[in-house]
Symmetry: D2
């Protein structure tokens, strides 16, 4: 099992801190990795909570200042699982300290921030990754494989949505630990950077670049109490965003994201229509892939529901037996397994910071178009 | 359009009287028939209701005694849509009068009754049909075609269910116009003859004969008020029946039917598993057929949901355009169109009385096994 | 059955001519109508085909010039089932002749044409209807009822799509009997007027007016052979259209329509998200309605799949029994039944020409925005 | 995190060895446990493979003789993940050595073996559990909670199936590491003990005891090569089994299991129908529960698809956020978390050996009835 240790320094202990920790901890039980991830240090501002997190996950030590963590010689990889407003500063410092850097998506709040980050990791020549985990849902990876094989022929349409409903109540606060995603200062944008960014990363990966777009954004609840100050403040984020796009390959894209779609918890859906076939997927039933093959003989042609659990499906050979599904967090396991494996090769696992910058660029265009009402060229 | 008239005498004006009338009336608008069905006479015991029914559907005349109808020279075809206890007597008389005879399923209450009916129509040499309409749901017809093509290879399993929930309340009466199906005298049996008979007819048609079976039957509500007398009476029918069967081709069958499955209105489902593929269908989504083709290449293999609405699908070329579904009553239109077409040929449309007798024979075996607990050989 | 005759003059014998004829012929068998529809005359340019159509459906006479039909004193209602470029002229003439006028959707090719039609029917004071049949799919009617009841609370999102795949091949011609929908001269527009118009009619009916919109339109296949001339010609229609819209009630709308979505035959889907619940429907499974009720107690809350076949569901009390579905054409039966019933009252069945003009106005804005790239205000 | 260590001795390193190891390793990251599971020793006959397994999962030591493991003083809990023919001997020895004992299901090959095991653990007074993991799929646990709440009212029907397709080819061998489940000597029975046992454990837990049953069993492939000897041998297991049962509460049960249902990988489905509602679940979509509540107002009543991912759902509060699903192996995590927690209380986590013996008793009755054709009373 595994060679040299890979010492992880984890910054943040929230939802994503747990996902990433679980991924590093679990990956070597299922995947053959060239280096053995070691949970070396957990870092958070609250000493007590950070210690509890470290105890829970088996981190060997604790830091309360990310600058100290970044400087530690025994850390090989810095993983950034804190709100978006800290991504750039930490990542740049980590790169400058020669660490491999992983950050939870999105890369940054803005293209400008992202560009600084790309420059830093490329200058330092360190391995880097933005954790757009959905690429490594096996069914999504399979979409990528089918599209790349050319089986769909010319692509006409790509559509994706990410629908949630957890902010409908005006009593949900903004800011603070659990709700920083509603605070424009911490998050950069609302659903665009949080949810649509996932849809966009997958779309760019599978269907290539977006040439131009127009968008509609809306803030349904105009004021919310700040979780820390207790003061009512104007809401600066987009509660919902919808986008019309033209891809560079001539296909049309539609994207939508909202936290006001009652009944949908985390409904990320995507569909791609080509000349000879179509593929559709949704996160709620993430182990299934819908596939329409126009070449099947007439009377028995239909949409096929593929239960993506067989040994020949991406990543599945490492898990259980056909018919037994995996869950959300496995996409993080795959991501970290791929990243660690790629660190030892000259072909990095994606999306790198540079690749992910493109998604941030598209997000910025969406926000801009939402304000101007005009088409934005990318 | 169409040649000679085919004069219909309809006995019964209930649910099935309406279905059959609609079928005769609609068939020539969509199918090219060798004879033109004419709604000549409607017959029922209640003169007023029979007249209203005749007015509604355009029957030219009315009778209140089925014996008179059967004797009328201007009637070519007698269609029996009354409770099961009258099937045998009317059918025998109609056959003796030289009429073509259609009866709503089941053929009869018992094998003995059915044998008399078969003898009568065969002696008279008249066209005859039991209206097991589900054979001509396009998706079910497609099942038959695929199985007959041999694509499934060796068959291992056949399973079917027909689940309803409308008799759960003990306040539902037995007997009378709307609830004669709960009266063992009128119906012969409960769910076995009413619902399971449909499953069995399809199974025998698609998968061949049943060699032996064992069954469990139950009457959950032991007493019900009679709708006409108002008196509490013991319930004589089976409320639920479940069957294990061995088909002559070596495959195993499981069948179940009940009117106590809360939430299921008319959930007739069937599935057949063969060496190389499987097919599954359900009545609630009757225009879809689920198809698993094991020969499809590995990673993209799955259950295909075929929307059976294309021109190349059975019967569909006569209706609308792809994607636009048809409904329950269309199966009756197909049945009557096929029957009228077959009348002019030497290959009768099935199931004939003789074919349908086999289903009644199996029903009798189920009732017998339900009482004895032993396997019955057919 | 029923009172005075209502003499129908049907213009057109194609797909829609069949649907409307079936509706008039079937409606009185299931609904109690104040007037009895009589198939008085069928009209088409090709005498032979028109006669065959008349024979098939039982029309009493035939005309080959719509002007003659419109002038006939024995015609009460003119039903226009011909390509869109003839709607205005025929409808105006029929109204001037004092006939009730039904036209298949869309009202007209342009707002200008539509305004002439509205003026004509209102001046003449004749009953008028545009046959947007999907309003009377029972599940869609149920959506309307639930929304009107206020149960959804504040509405945040409305989204609809109409996806087909039948024009992907560049070998499909334009123009002529079967493919006039691809000829901009005959149709006025492509998917916008043909498919999106359905989505828009339902949306305006259920969710109120659209205040502004921006659109993207595309023509994937630039040249097609004309079915009649055999000559290659530039394609003038929109093959695909996608729309972002703001409704007057503050909710956001997204609409998309295409004939290049491989695997989708006639996938009209709609969804509406409100504060307290959501509803979703799709045409391929038209007898089901998806309903999410946020007020249901926590652990058992989910999306409910309502099989819309019970007696208490819109229109269903007139058909069969619970669990037995109806088909596409039944929506036309409901439309004609409602229209004939409403003719005898002072509350017209919708959409009237005036109501349907709004949909045409939105279609025009979509085509305009597709060209300009700018938001259009309505 | 956590108190005293709980030293695990794992016997077996196959599919189930991996599942159980993952469960012990992961449970403390998500659940608050009174004792900390420590992977103390892994045991298998093949020293090399056992060592590799130990390295992969972090076991501190390795044994190649289970007797030595059982005797080790530093082992608190013996977990038996080897073929069924070894369960009894190991479990009895472990109990006699005073260890807590967990065994993968089924308890034993026969009731006689099982009774010895029950006697041993009860005499020794050690904590014991049979790992019927499906009880702790959150949706299944929710079924149990709803049924126990009495919301379904009187129960009429319980039906379950477990369908696979991996042994259809006669080239699949029997015996050996990967295919011992096809060897009657090692497994005790075929699908009955392997698959139906799961269905039965859940059924008995949720719906109470089975009073009597009749069964049909079949061996489709009569001879298979033994994986180790290379010799053709008669197949002694049941390839398929179907059961009719009467529960003690008066409801009817139907059960079926096969490895010859083409297209189904691990399709465990269950459904329970009560007077006021029904519940249905299937393993392929294990995070969903279908729920029909008859008390919902009429027009909006339907089958609700509950995405069981909310904090208020069983076990889910410990995992991610609403909408994000978990996978197959999580049911083992829940099982071990519950077992370890219950060890410190006087209310054991089920099923204990004694409870699981009932399932083995029913399995024996199925095999017996499959041979005799008669009803068996339990």
């Amino acid at each position: 099992m595994a060679g040299r240790d890979l010492n992880i320094g984890m910054i943040g202990y929230g939802f994503m801190g747990r996902c990433h920790s679980n991924a590093f901890r679990t990956a070597p039980n299922f995947f053959d990795l060239p280096r053995r991830p070691v949970l070396k240090a957990a870092c958070g501002r609250d000493a007590g909570r950070t210690q509890a997190f470290a105890d829970r996950w088996g981190y060997e030590s604790v830091e309360t200042d990310w600058r100290r963590l970044v400087e530690r010689e025994d850390i090989d990889l810095v993983d950034i699982c804190v709100p978006n407003d800290l991504h750039a500063e930490i990542a740049v410092a980590a790169a400058e300290a020669g660490k491999a850097v992983v950050t939870e998506k999105p890369l940054a709040r803005t293209t400008a921030e992202g560009e600084r980050m790309v420059a830093a990791v490329e200058k330092a020549g360190v391995a880097n990754l933005v954790c757009y985990n959905y690429r490594r849902m096996p069914a999504v990876t399979l979409v990528k494989q089918v599209v790349e094989s050319g089986r769909l022929g010319r692509i006409f349409h790509y559509r994706a949505k990410f629908l949630q409903d957890w902010t409908i109540s005006p009593d949900v606060p903004q800011g603070g630990a659990g709700t920083w995603r509603l605070d424009v200062q911490a998050a950069g944008s609302g659903v665009t950077g949080d949810l649509l960014a996932h849809c966009l990363d997958t779309a760019l990966w599978i269907n290539g670049g977006i040439a131009s777009l127009t968008a509609m954004t809306e803030t349904f609840v105009k004021e919310r109490t700040h979780a820390e100050t207790g003061r009512k403040q104007a809401v600066g984020i987009d509660d919902a965003a919808a986008v019309l796009a033209r891809f560079e390959n001539g296909s049309l894209g539609t994207f939508e994201s909202t936290r006001y779609a009652r009944g949908h918890k985390a409904l990320y859906t995507l569909e791609i229509n080509g000349e000879h076939g179509s593929l559709a997927w949704d996160l709620h039933d993430m182990n299934r892939l819908a596939w329409f093959d126009h070449r099947v003989e007439g009377a028995l042609r239909g949409w096929s529901s593929i239960l993506v659990t067989d040994g020949e499906h991406p990543y599945l050979g490492k898990w259980w037996v056909p018919g037994l599904i995996i869950g959300f967090e496995h996409s993080f396991v795959h991501t970290m397994a791929d990243f660690i494996t790629a660190m030892e090769t000259d072909r990095p696992a994606g999306p790198t910071f540079r690749e992910a910058l493109e998604t941030t660029r598209v997000c910025d265009a969406i926000i801009a178009s939402g304000k101007s009402g005009a088409w934005e060229t990318l």
